[in-house]
Amino acid sequence: MVAHARADHPDEACGLIAGPEGTGEPKRHIPMINAARSTTFYEFDSEEWKQVYDQMWDNDEEVVVTYHSHTHTEAYPSRSDAGIASQMGLPDAHYVLVTTKDPDIAEVRSFRIADEVITEEPIEVTGAPEAVQSYKFAHTPDSTVYDCH
């Protein structure tokens, strides 16, 4: 997600991680086209989203994580992020925000969004030790910061 956000900077990047329905396990990373191609807005490309959704439907997968980047603000959902997600979003998904405003430090935070209420949740890094070691990371009281040199 961070690499995708860096690659698309200064535009916002967006995408999702799919997983088997009902497990909540993020298994398949799918970078999406930002149809808005904007530094301040993102929207899944309608045609690509339909293709991805069809694959997920056929595989009995669901969206576990939906992410997007902010390119010059905090990794925190904006008012329109929360409004759109509440009105017509992905209610079971973790909304992950990545900020690329700092060229050296990418901050990654995760939220649940429902009824215009934003609730932050902790991120736990798991997997092979070498996968984790490729990042330096440190926890602050309310966020997880990845140092992606």
Partner: protein, 92 residues
Amino acid sequence: MSIEVRIPTILRTHTGGQKLVTGEGDTLAKLFDSLDAQHTGLKGRVVTDEGALHRFVNVYINDEDVRFIGGLEAPLADGDQVTILPAVAGGM
């Protein structure tokens, strides 16, 4: 004429949790009227009071985004499949 409609998670509160429902109609507008009769409130989440599609919902007939094929007046044929998806968007 029966049309299968794939319902996104956020709208399954209107369908008793069902992800796939069926409706009738030879246009998308008529299909949503038919769906709303069985699944109260569903139409209002997709179609505005003025009779247009909500900005952040995508509706497809087969693989076509209906915004490019006539919107709610887009014609339906027996066996067509309709998919409703959240647009997934935001901005700072």
